[in-house]
């Protein structure tokens, strides 16, 4: 099969009050951004469970974007502060696992920042593209190449992500 340009897949959890509304605004203003992002509306960025981020990466996303209200603007007062602490911890775990922490990004976008939202997505898609696909490579960084080559076939055939 010919080597195709890798199109990153980004799962995006967007707060309905801000980032999701910002995405909507980008749409009504006909501002375009790449279709690599799969938006998932959440009531507040603080609703995003760390296990969802892990699951998204495990189930085929190359990266996860979380969009919340600017600090001080969360409708539930401090949901976005909690999210930031969760993201900081998740990135620590990713780094120790040998997965690039940049595969998880937290951004603040208000409902009026349609242009900014589009720009954030454009920039992040490029950043993730440069990281390459995520195919479950983790572990000591110097060994990653080998893992990709082995592809994990032996266990793969028996794996069911029930």
């Amino acid at each position: 099969m010919a080597e195709q340009k890798h199109e990153p897949k980004i799962a995006a959890f967007l707060c309905r009050w801000c980032a999701y509304a910002g995405a909507d605004l980008a749409g009504t203003n006909r501002v375009t951004y790449p279709p690599n992002m799969i938006p998932i509306r959440v009531p507040c960025s603080g609703r995003v469970e760390p296990s969802w981020v892990i699951e998204a990466l495990r189930e085929g996303a190359d990266a996860v974007l979380i969009g919340g209200c600017h600090p001080g603007d969360c409708h539930y007062v401090s949901g976005n502060y909690k999210t930031r602490r969760r993201v900081a911890l998740l990135q620590k775990v990713l780094e120790e696992l040998g997965v690039e922490p940049a595969r998880l990004k937290l951004t603040w976008v208000s409902a009026s920042e349609g242009m900014r939202f589009a720009q954030v997505v454009r920039d992040y898609v490029e950043e993730v593209r440069s990281l390459g696909p995520y195919r479950g490579q983790f572990g000591a960084p110097q060994e990653l190449h080998e893992v990709e080559e082995n592809g994990g076939q032996v266990v793969r055939e028996a794996v069911s992500h029930g």
Binding site: S51, A61, K82, R84, K92, V93, R135, G136, Q137, V159
Partner: protein
């Protein structure tokens, strides 16, 4: 009623699970006289050929401990699945990948290189192993349920006496819960822990050896990462009672879903929020940076069950 015919098999484990049934104390007499043991390599001499010769479905319950690490592990558990009416994942390794699953932080090749030296050849006999070549390692460790259908789980590292007792009582009395049951509490371990929990904000993370913990207060309140809030009860808080944090061996509650994910969410809420007016994020990061060895702490038992080596999806 005929005695239930049982088997116990070990895959990639440490042997702890094999001796753990003795934990039940004198009740072991009832257990051993109540069952017929068909196959249990740690106890008696029986070979694979014996198992192969058995009719399909002729063993009532096969308890399997250890994670799946070699091609031979894979073949044996598939064979046992065929011969068993019920398969029990026994212990954290079979349940979640366990300590053995931490091997997934390294490639199979680098593990072999480290253990046997880089000059060693895959087909060569292992030094001191009767001239036998070892079975090939699989690319990554997986828990039992990744290879075969598992009917019950007796969790723990190794399973605590209470849970072993529950399982054998059910088996001997012919009263088993619905298939899929995990022999542990639905509620988190904190519920069984006598330590007083105040949900105090964490100002600083400490490792267990760094403090002499207050004997009556919750360890998490004292800054020690205790997995109690996300781990199933069942061990009656054996570790916290002794001043050591829970490390999650019984596995996640249904609510937590995932040990590390659930714990990250708990810790993010417990860390003292930064004070307004100063750099809030920097204050919080300083506390969060004090959490070391996050993988070894949050994924001590569930790494292999959660992060599949080389099997992530990625854009097609």
């Amino acid at each position: 009623m005929a005695k239930p015919r049982i088997a116990m098999y070990w895959t990639g484990g440490c042997g702890g699970c094999d001796v753990s049934p003795l934990e039940v104390g004198e009740a072991i007499v009832d257990v051993l006289s109540g069952v017929e043991i068909v196959f249990w390599p740690a106890l008696m001499d029986a070979k694979r050929a014996h198992v192969e010769a058995l009719p399909a479905g002729s063993i009532d319950a096969v308890l399997i401990n250890g994670a799946l690490r070699t091609e031979e592990n894979m073949e044996m558990v598939r064979l046992l699945r065929e011969k068993a009416k019920l398969i029990v994942a026994y212990g954290a390794c079979a349940h979640l990948g366990g300590i053995i699953g931490l091997g997934n932080l390294h490639s199979a090749q680098s593990l072999v290189d480290t253990a046997l030296g880089e000059d060693w050849q895959a087909s060569a006999p292992v030094p001191g192993a009767n001239g036998d070549a070892p079975p090939a390692l699989t690319a990554g460790v997986v828990p039992l349920s990744d290879a075969i259908t598992v009917d019950y789980v007796v969790p723990g590292c190794p399973p605590p006496a209470q849970l072993i007792g529950q399982f054998f009582r059910g088996l001997l009395e012919g009263y088993m819960p619905d298939v899929g049951h995990v022999f542990a509490e639905e509620k988190a371990l904190c519920d069984q822990c006598p330590r007083e929990k105040e949900d105090r904000p964490i100002e600083r993370f400490v490792r267990p050896h760094e403090i002499e913990p207050d004997p009556d207060k919750c360890l998490l309140d004292q800054g020690v990462v205790c997995m109690g809030p996300v781990t199933r009860g069942g061990c009656e808080a054996a570790c916290p009672k002794l001043g050591m944090p829970c490390t999650g061996c019984v596995g996640p509650t249904r609510k937590a879903g995932d040990l590390a994910g659930g714990m990250i969410s708990a810790l993010a809420s417990l860390v003292r929020a930064g004070e307004e007016g100063e750099d809030v994020f920097a204050q919080e990061d300083e506390i969060l940076d004090g959490l070391v060895d996050t993988v070894g702490t949050l994924y001590k038992y569930a790494l292999a069950g959660t992060w599949k080596r080389g099997s992530g999806g990625g854009g097609k």
